[in-house]
Symmetry: C2
Subunit: 661 residues, 2 copies
């Protein structure tokens, strides 16, 4: 076994143990004899564990585009409805957009048509075996060879292997590689390069390229997902294959810096903004299934305050239990709040983009910070919520036919990709800290969503702030809700500022505090977006019943979110114990008020049955029949005696002779 | 489409909607034209999605038992190491034990040897399509035919179909069916019957039995799990096939009541107690992988207070970030606390059992309440923790080779089976309410783990209770920790008692309150078990370093758990804001103190590498190498040009003609 750094790290850590490990092994497993016997038993057991489907779907998608004369945008909607990561997903969603965004006009003119007609198929290769989050320490290099006018792409170490790259394992002919640009030994950091991987003649990898599939993932359901790895051995590509919209390298080997160092953030903002809306729609899908199924599932013939008294022989609908309402209804409220924030993000992104075109980068920092924070908060809410929906549904939730399992396993990696949800919180927190500084020197320059930091400057006044709720219904006043979110985020940013100034404090030691602050801020953005969207919808003259239900959802979102972190509001006496009581009461009132509308609220999401792919959540409510029908169609149920009967079952039944009954 | 109750329920719910659904569909998806186009696009897309492996493993297991002369208990340990639900799992863990527990001595003598030599293979068929949690409303009936001295087993309705039954889809020859016992039209409720399903001659189902597989589940990884359904059409079985240890039916058709109505609870207690230890070992396994991997994973070259200064070129070990420590270390503490509670449960169960033998059922209620509560709390902690471990590991956590995905998907259903984790909380809460009543009349009869309810009787004194922490280190005093848990659970039980007495209050409307109380009580049981186990280990003369680290874990468990529900302690001023500060500080201190021991603490779990089945968590720390090696072994990497190249990739690349580069 190689003495890699990893081996050393673990050995070193183990060596620090302060106590005899065997003591605890005994504590857990019993006597030494038992431990030894257990090892022996373990040694007796040994476990040994179609890409084609994804390829077929990709081809069919392109054929549909042609047959039905779809636009590119419409084809992408179809791709969403396929509801699998196709081998060409990243080609469409990353390779092509990045060529436009980071390639020069000439490069885009050359490469984009090839890619759009999928005459070449690309992938985006950033992550390496040893580095995911930390872009600055990627180990793949692109070294300029002035003589041949080429970049030499090289995997400098074992951990430099590109890993996890969508589309690279099977289909990609080209990769957009992030590598450290090196000229004459000088390292200019990570840049993008278009790198041919497999021959267009026969799909064989080029010499110097070792490419393959990284093996099975936790997601994908029945379809295997195409995720690949690649290593380069001094592999040359033309100098012109560097993406040169911002930074450039000339024929003379001169590196030309980009005009702003953070221009590349623009595309991250776009991706993360998309993910906000994606979080809402994912949670919406799970909530649709859970709402419909718990409406038709009846269990226990006990009274609840919502039980239909007209037919006393029927059991109670599961959705009428407060424990179910208290888990499910806030999720529906979250969907609508996240949608509102997603719309807000989209318009902020668009106005930032038109400013950037004019060279104005003033809003980039806030938009980047908010999109990072919302990505973290919203994808966390959605993944957790999908799993909660499954549990709300009881046992049948674990059937593949529930439609939830596949949704969950496919969605949950979003909590890690495009910026790990925990790491991202540091960026938002750092941004808010800067706003505190701005507030002390130049308060009118504080950005729109950070205005609350101004109030923290006068600490005496700030600490005297109290929630002004007097009656249960005061909790329905948006200004009271938002003031609570502002106060809490303000307190946390103030605490962080104080901690950060302490003698000898190391910034990374504060990452728990950053995490708390970032989520507090994101929750504020969500609540404010929800409040504003209700006002907008009202101004547009929408039916008053609709405005009313959206207002209730906005209220439930705000109050449920406050309740979930009640300690934060109690800790500095901002909220009083009696306000806690009235908060809980108002949440119950809202749940009660929404109970007749939840089916309509999920119907509004407008998911086709085929897309929901759920026996339990189908629009007609005939859950048990669909579950039964789905099972009957299984191949295993088409034969009277199962496969493997003679091979395995007979030997088991007769190992000690046949039964004499 | 049949007008089933479910169809009606959903239609009725939909009819109650107070607002025009289309308003919100437009809000979410845009114009009517967009909505229509989206529907059209959805219609363009259509998705159509080996039991043998499990059978082969089952046979091999039985062969190993024979070849190595294993005891039954040792074979079950081997089954754990196989780490899949085998088709024979429930035969071993339910069918055989229930025959002993619920069958008469004669029945056990007849059936058990057949089952133990697997000449017949059984399953346990309780859950139906329409009823899981609610045993009292099962719809399958067993009606006595006095003439033929037989039970007529019948699925009275569609939803009476038995569903989810482990082993029934493929392998079972017999089923232990729960059905309502009916004599002369009188319904005696659910009882157990041994019912032949498939012929021992050719494995074909008997006439009157419709049996099959329920289709794919969310768990099982690569192995398909055997879960079946069955319906009966007036299917006769001998009267003697009713399990008659407790209730009996004579040849004359006389129903003889069991001596105590709750005797059958005993086996539930046993199962749930096992699940407590199972929760600890599952979380231990995930924590082992995460601890080892984050020890060898390095990311970002930034200072942290634990960074090794001796080699400044190395990046920081991920485990040294406080955000990671604050998620991972409390999990290790949870493992040890749950183990302690599991041991406690085991000894409580054993003494209860010997009392039951003597006809003394006095401890049954407390043991049942605690085991229900712990099952709910501990399996929730473990499932959540396993998923957190995956996220702690970043992107590679989603590889199948991480070993976490399979663990999670296999474990998470435990939150629902053997009593839904939310429903179970009602039983514990109801029990504690009864203890309040006992405390007012007969305080010395309050059961050992409920003594704290006595303090709530004098409400003035109780409300004046305050946490006595003055310094950061006061938080390390077990009596202070336990007093906090007691106070909080006491307050919640007091609040529940008041709410339950309100005019017109419906019990099921209080299930959120029950849920809060039950977890508060379980957390107290866990913290107290941890504290007591440290004392026991100390008394046994274990090395003082070991006692020290166990004490730290016990402290971290208690303080982390308090912190996670801090609002509950602040809400009635029991804990003050400054105590919150010192609590957080002490948690940081404990994490710091444990940092050198965590690898040893997970090594102590003693999981063989083969069982962990994790490239990232292997004992040697060579994570990247193992990940690479595992990928290279994949079948897809053994060929130079992938399957499907000619069939799919060429048509994609050339749909618009081949590229001219």
């Amino acid at each position: 076994m190689a003495q890699t750094q990893q081996v050393k790290d673990l050995a070193a850590a183990r060596a620090k143990t302060s106590f005899p490990v065997i003591d605890l092994t005994r504590y857990i497993h019993g006597s030494d004899e038992k431990i030894a016997r257990r090892k022996h038993l373990a040694s007796l057991i040994s476990n040994d564990p179609d890409v084609k489907q994804g390829l077929a779907m990709s081809l069919r998608l392109y054929q549909l585009k042609e047959e039905h004369n779809l636009t590119q945008e419409e084809m992408l909607v179809c791709m969403d409805f396929i509801d699998e990561y196709l081998p060409v997903s990243l080609h469409e969603s990353a390779f092509i957009p990045i060529i436009y965004a980071q390639g020069s006009d000439e490069q885009a003119k050359y490469w984009a048509p090839l890619a759009e007609k999928h005459q070449i198929i690309g992938c985006y290769a950033q992550t390496e075996l040893g580095h995911g989050s930390n872009l600055s320490q990627l180990e793949t290099t692109a070294t300029l060879n002035r003589d041949t006018d080429e970049w030499i792409i090289h995997s400098t170490t074992f951990t430099a292997s590109k890993w996890w790259i969508g589309g690279l394992g099977v289909i990609a002919t080209h990769a957009l590689i992030q590598a450290r640009l090196i000229i004459d030994g000088k390292d200019f950091g990570a840049h993008g390069f278009i790198v041919p991987i497999r021959s267009l003649k026969d799909h064989r990898p080029f010499p110097g390229v070792k490419v393959g599939d990284i093996g099975p993932k936790s997601y994908g359901g029945f379809a295997k997902i195409d995720n690949g790895f690649v290593r380069f051995e001094n592999y040359p590509i033309p100098r012109e294959n560097m993406l040169m919209r911002f930074a450039k390298v000339t024929r003379e080997g001169l590196y030309v810096k980009p005009p702003h160092s953070k221009l590349a953030y623009g595309s991250m903002v776009l991706l993360r903004s998309h993910m906000v809306r994606g979080a809402a729609l994912t949670l919406a899908r799970a909530a649709t299934i859970a709402t419909r199924y718990t409406t038709v599932r009846r269990q226990f013939n006990v009274p609840t305050s919502r039980k239909d008294a007209s037919n006393p022989t029927l059991e109670t609908q599961v959705i009428n239990y407060p424990m179910v309402q208290s888990r499910l209804f806030p999720m529906i409220a979250q969907v609508y709040a996240i949608l509102a924030a997603g719309n807000k993000m989209k318009s902020m992104y668009e106005s930032m983009l038109s400013e950037l075109m004019k060279g104005d980068i003033s809003s980039l920092a806030e938009v980047h910070a908010i999109s990072s924070g919302l990505k973290s908060t919203c994808t966390t809410i959605a993944a957790t919520g999908v799993e909660d929906c499954r549990k709300i549904m009881g046992g049948h939730g674990y059937s593949y036919f529930s439609g939830i399992s596949h949704l969950w396993s496919t969605y949950v990696p979003s909590n890690t990709y495009e910026g790990d949800n925990f790491l991202l919180t540091q960026q938002s927190a750092r941004y808010l800290l800067k706003q505190v500084k701005v507030a002390t020197t130049d308060p009118e320059k504080v950005t729109p969503f950070s205005k609350y930091v101004i109030k923290t400057i006068d600490q005496d006044a700030f600490q005297a702030e109290r929630c002004s709720v007097e009656t249960v219904n005061d909790w329905l006043r948006p200004e009271i809700q938002l003031a609570a979110f502002e106060h809490r985020a303000g307190r946390l940013v103030g605490d962080l500022a104080i901690a950060a100034m302490q003698e000898g404090m190391v910034w990374s030691d504060l990452n728990q505090e950053c995490w708390r602050l970032c989520h507090a801020h994101s929750q504020y953005v969500l609540a404010r977006s929800a409040v504003e969207s209700v006002a907008n919808v009202r101004d547009q003259g929408t039916a008053k019943e609709t405005v009313k239900v959206l207002k209730r959802l906005s209220d439930l979102f705000a109050l449920h979110t406050i309740q979930a972190s009640l300690g934060d509001y109690l800790e500095d006496y901002y909220v009083s114990p009696s306000q806690c009581q009235s908060l809980r009461q108002q949440i119950k009132n809202l749940q009660e008020a929404l109970a007749d509308d939840v089916v309509g609220l999920v119907d509004a999401f407008d998911f086709p049955d085929h897309f929901l792919n759920s026996a339990l959540g189908s629009a007609d409510g005939n859950a048990y029949q669909h579950l039964w029908d789905a099972a009957q169609k299984e191949a295993i149920n088409q034969v009277e005696v199962v496969d493997g009967y003679k091979e395995y079952i007979v030997p088991i039944l007769t190992q000690y002779g046949a039964a004499k009954l």
